[in-house]
Amino acid sequence: MRQYFGRKALIYALTFFVAVTINWMIPRFMPGDPIQGLVARAQVADPASVDAMRAHYTNLFGLDVPWWQQYVNFWAALLRGDMGISIWAFPTPVTDLIIRAVPYTLGLLIPAILLSWWAGNRFGAFAARRKWLDNTVLPIGYLLTATPYMWLALLLAWTLAILAGIFPVSHAYSFAVQPSWSWEFLGSLAVHWVLPFSSLFLVMFGGWAIGMRNLIIYELESDYANYLQALGARSRLVRGYAFRNAVLPQITGLALQLGTIVAGALVTEIVFSYPGIGHLILQAINNQDFFLLQGAFLFIVLGVLVANFIIDVVYTLVDPRTRIRMQGNAV
């Protein structure tokens, strides 16, 4: 058991190391000079002040020391939780901005992921091998997974918010109420949450339903299912066993999909001006705020790694075979 999780933890630690290194490398080895861009943006004509600005920015980014020392400094700052100061929301530290945005992103993502996974699996398993349902579920499911997250968000915002006026179009709560623990504020929060949540939910739902439908068909073809059927077991029972076997690849699938799902949440937030990480990233890009952008990137990587680890733990709990293999000789 310890060996298995040790190996996993090693991979995740290495991944984090690689991600931080990429994060450090990109601005330094990219063609073009980011400082040049920052100076140019200020539109100062006087050469003396241009030089002063250059020196200031070079110092600010810590670019005036040898590269290996820059790398060590980068890690040291990171471990202190210091990701620099945002240019867009000067002088708020990047860490503060991210901590403020995280609850909104997680509040959208976690319910959307868990509910769509559960509902999609149930529905896909139910539809498999039922002629009529299968023929409707399959095309709809494929259309849903093929839909870009932001387009479904746009469609929902346009139809349900602008045309029908049922839900608000943007932001996490109405600016008429103050953030507090009052019912009024929570209600406003909930109403604003429905559309971004639904668009995330629907796209993911399609993917899980199709995945489960295909897996169930494979399982129903297998020997144990045929044998059970030959014994005269009720189809409910057979399907129950098939479902339990088909859920395992779906758990792995969830781990593989996490990156795409997070990206989907980012663009959904942008459509609804929802004040989460995606909104921060958009502001960072529009304002050339590279500290903020890189902070958000590191945070996303960290979040995905933690989620992967949780999925690993869940997998060992759900699948008895991994547990037995771990007790014997660890993989």
Partner: protein, 293 residues
């Protein structure tokens, strides 16, 4: 029927059988039809409809059906022209990005699966690390630092970051094939590694490889759309994601200019959805167990 015809038949039968089921598979046919129709539109559209997608040529905010087939944007750009040019970028990104990812994934998967040992250990480690990193986040960072971005560069970056799951899948398939008798025979008779991979292993999983490519194609299209929508799209061209980005930026939602953001989404969904449906069809054609009776 003559005697010779009957002798020739068995040799040709496998290909003929696949074709027989392919032509009778509705999913495959419908999917292929939609993809081909979109491809024709992407190739012929910009040629037949010779209007610049970025030039301001008409009355701003015109609804579809007037002088302009799909109306105009808030600045008077022709939406139909943007759509067909964007569709072209979509196919370009899919082919290049998906193709590149397929090639890298296959090479890594074949080598790791066939060679085994420490080569496998290292490649597997690299694959697992890249598999966990949210690649779109990496792409966002890279694209944000690029001052000039083209469709080609975008496809290149997508291709180089989206191969890990394909490598893993190909590796698993290669492992099952590498221990078969015909591969052992080739190895015993001194055939070189590279030749065994291309002559013995790859042809036996060609259908699997093709389906992997289709999925990578769809993934690349969606990844590009996401990047473009965030505002990191091509600076010198037009794409469907960029259309949606512009529409949101200039509040097409609030102004009710639905023809600005609905067509690009339909374009992407139709192409990617049709590819996925086609993939199911292909799966049924190649895998007799899945065929509907």
């Amino acid at each position: 029927m003559t005697q010779t015809d009957q002798i020739v038949l068995p040799a040709k039968r496998r290909g003929g059988e696949t074709l027989h089921f392919a032509l009778r598979n509705k999913k495959l046919l419908v999917g292929a039809f939609v993809v081909l129709a979109a491809l024709v539109l992407a190739i012929a559209g910009p040629i037949l409809h010779d209007v610049s997608p970025t030039e301001y040529i008409g009355v701003p905010g015109q609804a579809p059906g007037g002088d302009h087939l799909l109306g105009t944007t808030m600045f008077g750009q022709d939406v139909y022209s943007q759509f067909v040019h964007g569709l072209r970028s979509t196919f370009l990104v899919g082919l290049l990005g998906g193709g590149l990812a397929a090639v890298v994934g296959m090479v890594v998967g074949f080598v790791a699966g066939y060679r085994g040992g420490w080569v496998d250990e290292i490649l597997n480690m690299v694959t697992n690390i890249l598999l966990v990193i949210p690649t779109l986040a990496v792409l966002i960072i890279i694209a944000a630092y690029l001052k000039v971005r083209g469709v080609m560069v975008e496809a290149l970056f997508i291709g180089f970051t989206s191969w890990p799951w394909a490598a893993r899948a190909v590796r698993a398939q290669t492992l099952t094939l590498a221990s078969r008798d015909f591969v052992d025979l080739a190895r015993l008779s001194g055939v070189r590694t590279w030749k065994i991979i291309t002559r013995e292993i790859a042809p036996n999983m060609s259908s699997y490889l093709f389906m992997t490519f289709i999925l990578l194609f769809g993934g690349a299209v969606l990844a590009a759309a996401t990047l473009d929508f965030i505002g990191l799209g091509p600076t010198d061209g037009m794409s469907l994601g960029l259309m949606m980005n512009n529409a949101v930026k200039w509040s097409a939602l609030q102004l009710g200019l639905w023809w600005w953001f609905v067509p690009p989404g339909i374009g992407i969904t139709a192409v990617v959805g049709a590819l996925y449906v086609m993939n199911v069809g292909l799966d049924e054609v190649f895998n007799p167990r899945l065929r509907e009776t």
